[in-house]
Amino acid sequence: MLLQVRDLKVTLQDQGQRLRAVRGVDLDLAAGETLCVVGESGCGKSMTALALMQLLPRGAELSSSKLQFDGIELSKLSRHKLSALRGRRISMIFQEPMTALNPVFTIGDQLRAVYRRHTGVSSAEAQARAIEVLESVGLTNAELRMKQFPHQLSGGLRQRVLIAMALMCEPEMIICDEPTTALDATTQAQILRILKEAQSARKMGMLFITHDLGVVARIADRVAVMYAGRIVEHGSRAAVLRSPAHPYTKGLIASVPRPQDGGTGSKRLASIPGNVPAFHHEDPRCPFLSRCPKRMSICTREAPPVRQTEAGQQVACHLPLDAQEALTA
């Protein structure tokens, strides 16, 4: 198992109050496998990713019973060892390509610097390596691109450069925090192809954070649905998408506009009323309690048990498993 995370908790300073962004998350990722963590804004998915890389903002507290990458306990690593690991064995790319590259240095400078930091080779060798990786992510005339500055490239091109930067040292795992959210649909498709090809070529583990269920359907091997700091359901893609068990997952899938086979019939989407709560205190109960149409009195008293469904996914909900039926629109 490439990555094992048990009971990950992240608490942020929010105007003097302690906001609990991540409230006990377990994750597993095997080499060559793509795990998608899906959830709406404010559910703590990005915080989870940043916690793995220990890049939390100032004032944030991290705690976990296990945070192991290839057997190494990440939370115990020294600053120096951690920075040696980042970019070499675990890489990360972010959502906003427009601001993710240093505006006053050329693409070449920034790529070479990452490679030389981890391998210590000469800049000529680093240059060759950079061009090789840039071409592998679909960048034509890589030589010219190396001399250019970030502001001279489009959003799609910059994201390709960032992917190249992440792949410079052939990492074993790559964390992608909504890399295509800010891009157009067509560019998104191209970027996702590059990522999948790169992953299969290198047997890389990929932790892919997104809010778009459509993307999950296309690239995920396994899916974890996150809500208000907790994973409410996780399992294989087919299981979670085709036979969602948790009411939130059902509601989420139902609210995505999708091609209606019929005419302009009942176009109403099933929507989940209310909005996402913020948790400032420990609360082991089901996070979806305040908005769940299927709420029972037990939900308001006890933490939901984690159970496995026939389709094979784990779900944290008090609802009896056999009472599943598709949530009608």
Partner: protein, 307 residues
Amino acid sequence: MLSFLLKRATMAVVVMVNVSIICFVLSNVAYDPAIGIAGAQATDEDLALIRQTYGLDRPLLVRYGEYIGNIAQGDFGVSYLTKRPVLDMIVERLPVTALLAILSMALALAIALPLGSAAALWPDTIIDRLAQLLAVAGQAIPNFWAGLLLIVLFGVQLRWLPISGSESVAHFVLPSITLGTFAMPPLIRLIRAGMIEVLASDYIRTAKAMGIRPFQITFKYALKNAVLPVVSLSAVQLGFMLGGSIVVESIFALNGVGYLAWQSMSRSDMPVIQAIVLLISLIYIVLTLLADLLNAYMDPRLRSARK
């Protein structure tokens, strides 16, 4: 890049014309130059004679045209008092003021750069508190009061430093400390805010995610971005200090342009005053232009995409 230069150059010319108009009005309309030229024992006939010979009765526009013509050839007129060409008087004293401004600026930067950056690197620590306090206090200290206190303390009681005159560098220590406290606060504030903003930026987070060493992140990746705005602010501050030198030079009896301005002020020696104002405005414009050039050079976004 060229069109940017052209645009700034036209702006500079227009500004200089405005300044010259204001100076002309100041020295010819709000004040009767005839009295200035005639001096003490002028009788009314003398004044009329002078207005005649100097053509002061011609329409304003003609006189302004002539005034600009003279300035173009470097003739800034003659001082009412010493009857010497104003330009020579100013040029004689420029080195003193220039040295004072540069030393004060160096002092301000020498404190603001390290302190500002440190305050950003270790927020909410003692250094951060100190930096903010220094910025706020520095802005609140009346610099002429500071000058007097420095004279009493270092000049008279401790006798470490000479009090007035401009012979050796030592004579410039107290004045540049006084003028330096004038320029330092905005610099500290800007560097601290700039550094904080840069350190919280996405590209710094990318660098950390890629494992770049913290030292290189701070001094190479972050500093180069944070320093950009400091360049233009320093140019502006240097320009302001030329104005601020008036107070400091009169306290420390430094025979600079500022002190000359103050002396001419009390004697209403208008040609000198207007020449000094013109000169300081010109220096300010040139400095800001240079700062823009330096910025454009250092910041690739400006260098290529300059509209």
